[in-house]
Amino acid sequence: MKLPDTRCWKATSGCAALVLILIAAFAAASRAEHGSGGLPAKIAYCKDCHGPAAQGFLGYYPIPRLAGQQPEYLANQLRAFIEHRRTNNIMFNVAHSLSPAMVAGLAASFRALNPPPLGGGPRSRAEEGRRIFQDGVPEANIAACAACHGPQATGAGIIPRLAGQVYPYVIKELVNWGKERGQNPTIRDTSYIMSPVAHSLSRSQIEAVAAYVSGLR
């Protein structure tokens, strides 16, 4: 230990503080979910609909892949369901019982999963979708998806990962953007960024982009 005493103390107390925070978070998570099995049980519950590895699932609705998703995006969407910014009655009911510690635990768990894509998108449209994703359609004022979602479609922060997302889910979201997102006029959220893009894309272009991203690992 060549560190001066004060730095050494600071480092030690910093570690101690971190440990305390972690313990408190876990304690809060297990307290909130007491009697229901905590985080593992909640993850199992999510996977009932989102698929065994959270790779997405085709139920009555296409249910999105959560695996590898950006934690900040997941937390923001859970909040959006609760605040009716994003309309989905099932997810409202799921979300409003989750404690903040549970949301953080779930988001971290889903982030760590990396199953292969669910598949099912038409591969014949993927090349056209790749061009739209990487280059945009400048003549039609459609921005390149890659600018925000990243060249590998992994997303960043509040911007979602699209890689491996379920094909019909991507289509459904883009087609219904203005009806599902940004629905609480008193709370402005980041969904407005996608509005003009979703609006400018034709149905055929939406299908091509969905085919491309749904095949990305």
Binding site: Q134, P138, E139, A143, A146, A147
Partner: protein, 217 residues
């Protein structure tokens, strides 16, 4: 027979009018003009990535503020993307479909915008950055940034505005100067001016200057 004759007369009349209009517009103004509606649609498209009022946005990459930028600088950069002097595939695609009239309209609009800085920079290095910006680092041949970018960082002509620019964008540009700018050996451009300066700044100095300019209004 009579109807056909009337049609023919009408058609030739219209043709003559069309030719006269074409000649007149060619003589009076540049042949290429752009409607307010098209400009508004294009601006909305730019703002998808560059943020509300073009104040900059953090997508997968930090996407620069365009608001308040000098017109000459914006025009020169769009030209640089098109000529591959500045490498950026997304902006190449955006730039190469823009007509001269559209570029004039867009750059005028961006220059006039004046939103607050986006923020998000570390504050502790701001004083060090202010000193470098105002005084330079004579020992390592770094001139004061204010000499060209102006004492308030608002830029002038081909020299960009730095005031309110995104911290992480400025850091990325100064760090990668040689790899992104002046990439066509046969077409030297004004980016050569910054080359030795970017080269002589340490990473810590770059971060300090970036933090300072990002706070300027």
């Amino acid at each position: 027979m009579k109807a056909a004759g009337v049609k023919l007369a009408l058609l030739s009349g219209l043709l003559a009018l069309g030719c006269a209009a074409a000649v007149r517009s060619h003589a009076a103004t540049p042949a290429d003009t752009v409607s307010q509606r098209d400009v508004a649609a294009k601006l909305a498209y730019c703002e998808v990535c560059h943020g509300v009022e073009a104040q900059g946005f953090r997508g997968y990459y930090p996407i620069p503020r365009l608001a308040g930028q000098p017109i000459d600088y914006l025009k020169n950069q769009l030209q640089a993307f098109i000529e591959r002097r500045r490498t950026n595939n997304i902006m190449f695609n955006v730039g190469h479909v823009l007509s001269p009239a559209m570029i004039t309209a867009l750059t005028d609009d961006f220059h006039k915008l004046n939103p607050k800085p986006l923020g998000g920079a570390p504050q502790d290095t701001v004083p060090a950055g202010k000193k470098i910006f105002g005084e330079g680092l004579p020992d390592v041949k770094v001139p004061a940034c204010a000499t060209c970018h102006g004492p308030d960082g608002k830029g002038n002509g081909p020299f960009p505005r730095l005031a309110g620019q995104l911290y992480d964008y400025v850091v990325a540009k100064l760090t990668n100067w040689d790899k992104e700018r002046g990439q066509v050996p046969g077409k030297p451009d004004t980016s050569a001016i910054m080359q030795p300066i970017a080269h002589n700044l340490t990473q810590a100095q770059i971060k300090a200057v970036a933090a300072y300019v990002s706070t300027l209004e």
